[in-house]
């Protein structure tokens, strides 16, 4: 085998893997297409913003704490429960069923919010 031949086969292998990876990732993207755009809720100044968020079924909601004080985001009906979120920490939950989901901060219970899933 010539040196040229070795070079060609050496390059071909990563190329094949690359094409395969591309095919797999495009399939993943295709499957995720029907999912709704993600929703972000900012915790700031001891409040959830927006306080009421309406989202389609399948939406992933992410809470992010922008306060200097820890907060939580906990469903009043025990549907979801974040860990304690310190400054800049996040919690996500994907809503797969339609309904109204009230939640609050268990540390500062005056902080309440609602996710309406349609």
């Amino acid at each position: 085998m010539t040196r040229k031949g070795i070079w060609v086969s050496g390059m071909a292998m990563p190329l094949v893997i690359g094409i395969l990876l591309l095919a797999v990732s495009s399939r993943i993207t295709a499957n995720a297409q029907p999912a709704a755009a993600p929703m972000e809720i900012t915790i700031d100044n001891f409040s959830f913003g927006p306080q009421t968020a309406s989202v389609p079924v399948g939406t992933t909601v992410t809470w992010i704490n922008r306060d200097d004080i820890p907060h939580t985001s906990v469903s009043t009906e025990s549907v979801f429960k974040s860990k304690v979120l310190d400054t800049d920490e996040k919690f996500s939950y994907t809503f797969t069923k339609a309904g109204t989901y009230p939640y609050y901060c268990t540390i500062h219970p005056k902080m309440t919010g609602k996710i309406v899933v349609q």
Binding site: D68, I69, H108, T112
Partner: protein
């Protein structure tokens, strides 16, 4: 302190005493929070004077005992409002150790830690070990109950207590009750004591004579200061109905990181400064978040509270002093 300022404080305090407990007097108290106040509670009538004048002399005369309240040390907090809360707690302990009359014990009214982390409790323990008073009584704040419903707090600081950490004890004729109003908080509500604890409290106080001085302490104020920020306890009224027969009731709280006081009948309410960072006066900021003050002013808005009990007068003198004094 310059005489002029001292006179002004005296004048204000005189007005305050004449006023009783109205809003005007209340606000004046707040305005002078940073300078420290002494007030003696006697039969429900508060008598105030400035901290700098005379307190040392009276203390030397010798009440039966003194104890100190510290609060809201938030060990683990490291944001701009105070990047070194361990150092300011240490300053508070140094201040306690320098008191002319050694306190019998210390009460910590909660929020020992910022995130209930074992390392934060460890640091707190290290600093408190240096206190001259070896006996320390704790109640949890909401920051001490994160993640584990307060299990760790109970193991470390609540041995032998009931429920989520309530208990009572007696010291030289004064009955002390530590209450927990930060457990199982309900959405939309404020602090809460809960049915089980209220029943226990009623039972605990039932057999005691009306002349027994009572001290209740808990983290969140047991009187409604500002509901929008949750600064109150939903079922505190029921708790206070159990102390109605007593001639001297003192209620000590933390949580709001500033001094506020109020007298209602024979009950005097008092909130302590934090050893970590100040919080805004009710409604003066978008939220109750930490208040950033210039570094050189920080020690004026942090502090300790010491309480002097004089047997003959059946009175408790509550003294707030900032770390800077």
């Amino acid at each position: 302190m310059p005489d002029k300022k001292q006179d002004l404080i005296d004048q204000n305090l005189q007005d305050l005493n004449n006023d009783g407990v109205d809003r005007r007097g209340f606000l004046k108290c707040m305005a002078w929070a940073g300078t420290g106040l002494v007030w003696t509670m006697s039969g429900g009538v508060p008598v105030s004077r400035a901290f700098a004048k005379g307190y040392g002399k009276d203390a030397a005369k010798g009440g039966d005992f003194t104890f100190v309240q510290i609060s809201d040390s938030h060990i683990g907090f490291n944001k701009p409002a105070n990047p070194d809360v361990t150092a300011t707690l240490q300053t508070a302990i140094n201040k306690i150790n320098a008191m002319p009359q050694k306190p019998d014990f210390i009460i910590h009214t909660g929020d020992l830690s910022q995130l209930s982390k074992p390392s934060e409790f460890d640091t707190l323990d290290q600093v408190l070990k240096g206190a001259s008073a070896k006996q320390i009584h704790f109640v949890p704040g909401e920051h001490d109950m994160l993640s584990d419903n307060g299990e760790q707090f109970l193991q470390r600081y609540g041995k032998g207590t009931k429920g989520s950490g309530w208990y009572s004890f007696d010291q030289k004729g004064v009955h002390f009750v530590g209450l927990v109003n930060v457990a199982n908080l309900k959405a939309g509500g404020m602090g809460s004591l809960g049915h089980e604890q209220l029943e226990w409290l009623e039972e605990d106080l039932k057999g005691r004579s009306a002349s027994t001085p009572i001290v209740l302490f808990a983290h969140i104020p047991l009187w409604t200061i500002y509901p929008d920020w949750g600064w109150g306890t939903d079922d505190s009224e029921q708790a206070l109905s159990y102390v109605k027969k007593f001639g001297s009731v003192t209620v000590l709280n933390g949580h709001i990181h500033q001094i506020m006081q109020k007298v209602e009948g024979k009950v005097s309410f008092h909130t302590a400064m934090s050893t970590a960072f100040p919080q805004p006066a009710p409604g003066t900021a978008p939220s109750a978040g930490p208040l950033k003050v210039p570094a050189e002013q920080l020690q004026q808005v942090l502090g300790i509270t010491d309480v002097n009990y004089v047997v003959s007068g059946r009175s408790l003198a509550v003294v707030d002093s900032p770390l800077s004094s």
